[in-house]
Symmetry: C2
Subunit: 458 residues, 2 copies
């Protein structure tokens, strides 16, 4: 029988936990900048040591062709369920450095928050897992197996983690992947991210005449690729905000009325939304709310468009070419490569004979869904409700974390995205921070997740 | 009574005329390059001397805030008609210099052509007028007054010639302006340019959210300015190739069936046109031929468009802004500032509430028409038919020579565009040339123009 509860253990170790987090935060593990290569190694080693200190049977730093991956585990019982914790120790660059009020790599506590690059994303959030694991071990209350996989390339696309998962598939075997790398709707509105959109990113080029032409001599007589591209792009979305690519919606999961009601019950002010973006009105697919349009419905956006003369003043040219980068956010159960094919076929089909078109697939990622009826989701829901006093809402994020669907594809394991971030944490921006109390509440909630999840599996 | 005809005078002076033209061609009077400033002055002085030598009462070099204007005249009879000859002595830059087969400023004759920068545009063509004037004076056959206005800034927008015309309006008084600075349809298809399109050049900017947004978090929920701009641009032309701006066509001069038949009788091969541009098909306003679309009908072209990420690879951004440069070629009797106003009103009216739009007028020029029934046109027609053996066709050029409509506006004088250039002369390109025989035929035709025009006015 434990001498104390995990919560009691957490409470008496608050100061030490913060000190240890600060040690990690002080390492400038910026994955995008090659001069920080030694810091990546140092950070990985420091985390491996933390895992062993917390109670892991062992923890190792695995070199990759990029930054190392930390793997550690504690196997309590081969028949018990296994939780695989995923997190990343790399952080975003700190520029513009001048806008930071304090040194991004010298964490300080002020106004109840920890200020440092990585305080939330994701060192702060991953370290909650290390400390929750320690609290469980120390109080002898761990009833499952735990594995940690901590990577150093999340901010640059998790390039080498896909291969790592392929190579160590057996070692990584687990029942569920637990991730804290997302945000909640608001401080008073706890939520669990249960959907992530996928992505199909295309580039198109429309070529008209074989050279730039004088718009006086040819204007009106030949197809202008910039006009044609505008026309083609415009036609991809109809007046109801529907994407016109044939079969685009075939695989889109239709949410039940109940799910939509649940999803829309999250507090959301359209006026605040418009005000914060300084727009006169929103725009999107008819029949859906803004939350739904950005969370559970696919979208199509021009990310870049260019053609002809774009300098100062005037040049009377009919450009020879016009290009655009066009990406589509996908929802379950759309397949990104199918969508790429449908897009290309459609774009080629609608191009007039007056131009040639080139369509390239740049990259893609699968949408991800964490079913709200799976035991791990229920365990996370209960754990958060216990700690924060409110049942968390299922949240469908419009963004993409490609590695999450990668895990499902390679390892065959679902993830629970039990994130404790908030918009106000300013991840990726100057003056990133993380609430001190949220850090401890998070640790506590994670211990409860272990408890409820294990119980549900017995 | 003259001792010889102008033609005879021309025939016995061929070698000298060529030598004198070469002297002018050797001066590198490139108006776009400031290091050639002294060459501009030298060229102007050389031309003033040529005019006096040819028989002018006087000729002066007028300084302006830019390059000097040469003015010379011969007044034979205050009651006789006055012809004002306009031409320009400045030339285009010669780059890419490496593509020239000979020195652009050391003229040579080869294959029956004069090879040099300015051989056609416009030194060769304006010098035909100096020599025609000389032939008339020398043979005592000049029955009208002649004025010359030769500028040095045509290739850079005739910036200071407008002010010069305002200032010396009285001195420039004339019945007709005669210009050789255009081309004919083909060597076997003589033509007279009787229409030039005008221009209204606009720049638009569409602003959506107040900052670039993450396309995952916001995609589908907010109006993307690049998508909206594409939609707005696409809507400016309907499926029949008609421009949709209300009242855009109100002032467009409708050509009679006879005029259209005449215009379309010029040889034109749609297959050759498509082949030379490497396009699968032409595109334009329904109900008009390609010649008409580019000559006597207005057009609307995107000259430049830009928004968002236009570098290599992918960036998942919803851009905050999107811009385009859009110009319209205008035909008689459209007014460029009215069209600018109509465009702006329409563009603002069609913009959805989800974006803000900014519309700027960059510049404009009036269309020009040289009525084919005016005596000067008839005189040019007859003169060319006499010399080239075929009645020249009226040609409506899609391009613009803003100073020509400037003359009409400021001086109240119509111009006859009696150009002897050909597409093959490669003006503005490396290896510009001008046919030797065309040079002499042109001189002869100009003397006949004087004759017929004066006769028609008696």
């Amino acid at each position: 029988m434990p001498v104390m509860t995990p919560k009691e253990f957490i409470d008496i170790n608050r100061e030490r936990f913060i000190d240890e987090l600060f040690t990690i935060l002080r390492i400038p593990s910026v994955s995008a900048q090659s001069q920080h290569k030694p810091d990546m190694q140092r950070c990985a080693e420091s985390l491996a040591a933390s895992l062993v200190a917390a109670g892991a049977d062992h923890a190792e730093v695995y070199p990759t062709n990029g930054n190392p991956v930390v793997f550690g585990e504690k196997i309590t019982d081969r028949n018990a369920p296994t939780i695989l914790v995923y997190g990343h120790y790399d952080v975003m660059p700190t520029d513009p450095r001048g806008e930071w009020n304090t040194d991004p790599f010298e964490p300080v506590i002020k106004d109840g928050r920890i200020w440092a690059r990585g305080a939330d994303d994701d060192k702060g959030q991953l370290f909650m897992h290390v400390k929750a694991f320690e609290a469980m071990c120390a109080t002898n209350s761990l009833n499952c197996n735990v594995k940690f996989m901590l990577e150093g390339e999340e901010e640059i696309g998790s390039t080498h983690l896909y291969g790592f998962c392929e190579e160590y598939k057996e070692m990584l075997a687990a029942d569920i992947i637990l991730v804290s790398d997302t945000s909640m709707i608001g401080a008073d509105v706890p939520s669990i991210t249960c959907g992530l959109r996928g992505l199909t990113y295309m580039e198109v080029e429309v070529t008209g005449p074989n050279r730039d032409l004088h718009s006086g001599h040819y204007g009106g007589g030949v197809a202008n690729p910039a006009n044609v591209l505008s026309r083609l792009v415009a036609s991809l979305i109809d007046e109801n905000g529907h994407i016109t690519i044939p079969h685009f919606y075939d695989d889109v999961r239709v949410f039940s009325d109940e799910e939509r009601r649940d999803f829309n019950s999250a507090p959301f002010s359209i006026e605040e939304y418009k005000h914060s973006l300084d727009i006169g009105d929103v725009e999107g697919e008819a029949g859906f709310t803004t939350m739904e349009r950005t969370g559970i419905r696919p979208s199509l956006d021009v990310n870049g468009i260019w053609s002809g003369y774009i300098g100062e003043g005037a040049k009377t040219v009919i450009p020879s070419r016009a290009s655009a980068k066009i990406s589509m956010r996908l929802v379950p159960n759309q397949d990104f490569s199918t969508i790429a094919r449908l897009f290309e076929e459609h774009f080629r089909a609608i191009a007039p004979a007056s131009v040639k078109v080139d369509v390239k697939f740049l990259h893609g990622g699968a949408p991800y869904v964490s079913p709200t009826d799976m035991p791990a989701y229920k365990a996370a829901e209960k754990a958060i409700e216990d700690v924060l006093g409110k049942r968390p809402l299922p949240y469908y994020s419009g963004g993409s974390i490609p590695i999450i669907s990668g895990f499902e594809k390679i390892l065959g394991i679902k993830s629970v995205l039990m994130g404790f971030g908030l918009e106000e944490d300013a991840i990726h921006s100057p003056n990133e921070s993380f609430g001190v109390e949220r850090f401890f509440k998070g640790i506590e909630a994670i211990t409860l997740f272990y408890k409820y999840y294990t119980e549900s599996r017995q």
